[in-house]
């Protein structure tokens, strides 16, 4: 059992590799953001904003997952994860600037054009809709913008605290930093749980303002677990492949991250998704089934099946065995697949929407189906290049931000008091 860190300074720093990461990230970001802006006028404002929301929801899911992982390790005083924690911290560090991504949406909603994205921000519609009026105390532009500012600020503060102390500990090796993080982690997780829940409601659930599900915050949490754990595995595999990290991250850590991906990103996700669907399907109350209606129609029908098979069944069968998790190449390939599925999932959450008018005014389900088939009612199926450029741009920013956050510090918390445990750790 080896408890000493066998890695050169070069192996423990991004160095030249950081430039590559930044290069790829910035290139993606420039192409993505540039492409999105170029396509914006031809795609139309509504398509642009929906694509923007899709990209933002996905990027936040990954980085919030990183924040969750970091805080969780302090709460449970984990030993095994010390060497992989910095990777998650790099993702969480993005939250320090990602509030900027919320600014355009705040400007949009505050400026009175929120109806391009959200029906509840459409004053004409609200004036005629009893339900939307009842919800207006929560779903109104002012309060929505205040909430966005609050989320952005809380996440930035949490990220600054947990990432900052961890990186500072590399230099001073001060054990009291670990104690401080341990002490505040429970409060951090409470803040995280509440903000993440309401962010999911505000960004995504309120797209179809008549619909509601108490499970929705938990679902977005499961989504962010998938995105974050898969991203962490890919980043670590790339680092490892580039000769970084020495003995700090080994088969055992990939194995354990694979278990996390399996448990939270595959099984827990499926459990939450199934429970939400099954209860709504079984009770069959129109106001609730309205959300699943477009997701079982037209092209989205196939997207739903892609999720069931590609996000649950296939990865379940593959990841349940021990060996795929123990080969960095194999687990990285699976993680890449899971990131793809994660993006499909966010797309599936954000894109399909039936206008409230159509939902309320259809006499029967069959009438609504007929109206959709006749093309009178849109279910939001609108694949457009701008969605690709938006997600590429934002993920490029996340990657560049990750590399920027880790540009000077070590890739492993080298003076974390529990580092020897992570090095000695074995899956027996």
């Amino acid at each position: 059992m080896n408890t000493t860190l066998n890695a050169t300074t070069e192996q423990l720093h991004l160095g030249a590799m950081g430039k590559k990461f930044t290069g790829v990230g910035v290139t993606l970001a420039v192409i993505g953001v540039g492409g999105t802006l170029a396509l914006a006028s031809s795609a139309g404002a509504e398509t642009f904003w929906r694509a923007y929301l899709f990209a933002v929801s996905a990027a936040f899911a990954i980085c919030l997952g990183g924040l969750f992982f970091t805080i969780l390790q302090h709460i449970v005083r984990a030993g095994w994860s010390v060497t992989v924690r910095r990777t998650a911290e790099g993702l969480a560090a993005n939250l320090k600037w990602m509030w900027i991504l919320l600014v355009p949406m705040i400007v949009l909603v505050w400026g009175g054009n929120g109806h391009l994205l959200y029906e509840w921000a459409d004053t004409d519609l609200v004036a005629h809709d009893y339900l939307l009026q009842k919800k207006a105390a929560y779903l109104n532009p002012t309060f929505w913008c205040i909430r966005m500012i609050a989320y952005g600020a809380i996440w930035a503060v949490l990220a600054k605290f947990f990432v900052g102390h961890s990186i500072a500990q590399d230099a001073d090796g001060n054990v009291s930093r670990s104690s401080a993080m341990q002490m505040l982690a429970p409060i951090g997780i409470v803040l995280y749980a509440l903000t993440q829940t309401f962010a999911a409601i505000d960004w995504i659930m309120s797209l179809q303002p008549t619909w509601f599900s108490t499970m929705f915050g938990v679902y977005y949490f499961a989504v962010s677990c998938t995105g974050c754990f898969a991203t962490m595995i890919i980043l670590l595999a790339v680092l490892k492949n580039g000769g970084k990290l020495g003995n700090a991250v080994n088969t055992e850590h990939f194995h354990d991250l694979g278990k996390m991906l399996f448990a939270f990103g595959v099984v827990f996700w499926a459990y939450i998704g199934f429970s939400q669907y099954m209860l709504i399907w079984y009770a069959n109350i129109p106001v609730e089934t309205g959300w699943f209606f477009p997701r079982q129609m037209g092209e989205y029908f196939y997207v739903s099946w892609i999720l069931i098979i590609g996000h649950f069944m296939l990865p379940f069968v593959v990841l349940v065995s021990r060996w795929p998790k123990r080969f960095p190449g194999v687990i990285a390939a699976i993680a890449t697949w899971m990131v793809l599925m994660f993006l499909v999932d966010v797309y599936w959450l954000v894109m399909p929407v039936v206008p409230t008018d159509a939902l309320i005014n259809s006499e029967t389900n069959d009438a609504l189906v007929a109206a959709v088939e006749a093309g009178e009612v849109s279910i939001g199926w609108n694949p457009h290049l701008i969605q690709l450029t938006a997600i590429a741009g934002v993920l490029g920013l996340v990657l560049a931000g990750w590399a920027f956050a880790l540009r000077r510090c070590s890739l492993v918390p080298v003076r974390d008091p529990r580092l020897p445990e992570a090095l000695a750790f074995e899956n027996l």
Binding site: T3, T210, S213, T214, Y271, S275, L279, I285
Partner: protein
């Protein structure tokens, strides 16, 4: 890294660069064996055991009388009425099933999470699980009216070609609970085998040697035995893990698949699971605190174990609080008249007292565990655990009764009042639970001897190469 001295009486203060020992006061394996086996090998149990046993058996007798009275008279002896068709029986069923969750969580999920402190509490938490599920199974069994036809709950091929309703979550419950019971029992038994062999080897009478020998299945402690044992244990842990989630999820479906306001809400499955773990850990605390005092197990169930459990109680209690809050928020957000009414009525209607007992016991009480002083005070822990048990019973009462008593049409509203038979039957179920539990403490190894040895520094093959990390 350095380790704390082994005789550190508190065993709770752990700075980030140390790991506190998991058990205290023992350097070698044989003192561990001796200290745990003392519970079973003592000539007489402590006087408190006799008093508790007398009370438990009396309550068990009362339960028998009540069940007999019920069978001879009919379900009318209960307070169940129209519209509250489900009264105490379902409330008690869910209460007991919930308690039955901690054992498997500790033995399976904490095992997979490598939480080694679990070894000091897993054995009796698992035992508690099994006894709680037995108590739970009793209530639907006697609620069906004609108890002699209870086997109709199972889809048994028959010449009348009559089948249970496969679309009913009540039938899924039959499958979920019986699977859970079977796997928990197997898990418990597999874990017991090496320890039963220990008791067999130490037995002083032929009867003891024979009976422990019979159930230890010829265990000799050979390498091959251990190898198979560990594999079986890991596989059972992996099988039991989804069951921890599935059982209470299915129990929550009993309510949530309906269209009834207050029952039909999508967060029910994880919310019920969190609540179950919450109540289960509270019951483990309620039982562990007196047990460690009476049988001198404080070296094994240290203050740190109790503190860890308090933290889990705080976590799951807050999750339950999150669910209450989310239900309330969404009931308002939905804009649905009946949804909002159901929740406002819970808080301010005719059953408001039950609702506020629930909130104060389940959400407010655990918040004291934010403070170290409360987590480390035995009396506070014990009283809080009782409050949580009470609160979780009331949670099921609130969910079941308020939603049924007042739903859509005011003309069909009603008022539910349990009868004395309801109360005494519920009280009697504690007799069943405690009788089984006390017998377990007396005759079976109350802590997992072999597993505790495995987490001692002496069991670490590298302990001598790297002394500083003996407590990995």
């Amino acid at each position: 890294m350095t380790t704390l001295p082994v005789d550190n009486p508190m065993n709770v203060d752990e700075s980030p660069d140390t790991r506190a020992p998991l058990i205290i006061g023992h350097e070698s394996f044989d003192t561990v064996t001796a200290e745990i086996c003392r519970v079973n090998e003592a000539k007489k149990p402590p006087r408190a055991w006799y008093i508790a046993m007398a009370m438990s058996v009396s309550l068990l007798g009362l339960l028998g009388c009540m069940v007999g009275y019920l069978i001879f008279t009919g379900v009318g002896v209960w307070g169940n009425n129209n519209p509250v068709m489900w009264g105490f029986p379902i409330v008690n069923f869910v209460f007991w099933v919930g308690i039955g969750h901690a054992g498997t969580l500790i033995s399976a999920i904490l095992f997979l999470f490598r939480q080694k402190w679990r070894t000091s509490i897993n054995r009796f938490a698992e035992a508690m699980t099994i006894f709680a599920v037995i108590c739970a199974g009793l209530f639907p069994g006697i609620h069906i009216g004609r108890v002699w036809l209870a086997y109709w709950l199972f889809p048994i091929p028959n010449q009348m070609d009559m089948w249970p309703q496969f679309r009913s979550p009540l039938l899924w419950d039959v499958f979920a609970v019986s699977t859970y019971f079977t796997v928990s029992l197997l898990f418990w038994y597999v874990g017991l085998i090496p320890d039963l062999a220990t008791l067999r080897d130490r037995a002083t009478s032929k009867i003891k040697a024979f009976s422990y020998g019979l159930f230890s299945l010829g265990w000799r402690g050979s390498m091959r035995h251990w190898h198979r044992y560990e594999r079986a244990y890991l596989l059972l842990a992996a099988l039991a893990t989804p069951l921890v989630l599935s059982v209470h999820s299915v129990v929550s479906f009993d309510f949530a698949v309906s269209q009834l306001p207050g029952w039909h809400t999508t967060i029910f499955p994880p919310y019920f699971v969190a609540g179950a773990i919450f109540s289960g850990f509270a019951m483990v605390l309620t039982l562990a605190i007196p047990a460690r005092e009476l049988w001198g197990l404080k070296n094994f169930i240290t203050l740190r174990h109790l503190e860890n459990m308090a933290k889990i109680v705080l976590l799951t209690g807050s999750m339950v609080g999150y669910a209450y809050g989310m239900e309330f928020f969404i009931a308002w957000y939905s804009g649905e008249l009946y949804e909002s009414f159901a929740f406002v009525n819970r808080a301010f209607g005719q059953y408001a007292w039950a609702y506020w007992i629930m909130v104060s016991c389940n959400v407010i009480t655990p918040q004291i565990f934010w403070f170290k002083a409360c987590r480390r005070n035995i009396w506070v822990l014990f009283v809080a655990s009782l409050f949580v048990n009470i609160g979780m019973w009331f949670e099921r009462f609130v969910i079941t009764v308020t939603s049924l008593a007042q739903d859509f049409l005011p003309s069909s509203w009603g008022w539910y009042e349990p009868t004395w038979v309801d109360f005494v039957t519920f009280l009697g179920s504690f007799g069943l639970f405690m009788t089984l539990f006390l017998l377990f403490i007396r005759y079976l190894p109350v802590l997992a001897i072999a597993e505790i040895k495995a987490i001692m520094p002496a069991a670490d093959p590298h302990a001598h190469d790297h002394d500083e990390e003996a407590h990995e």
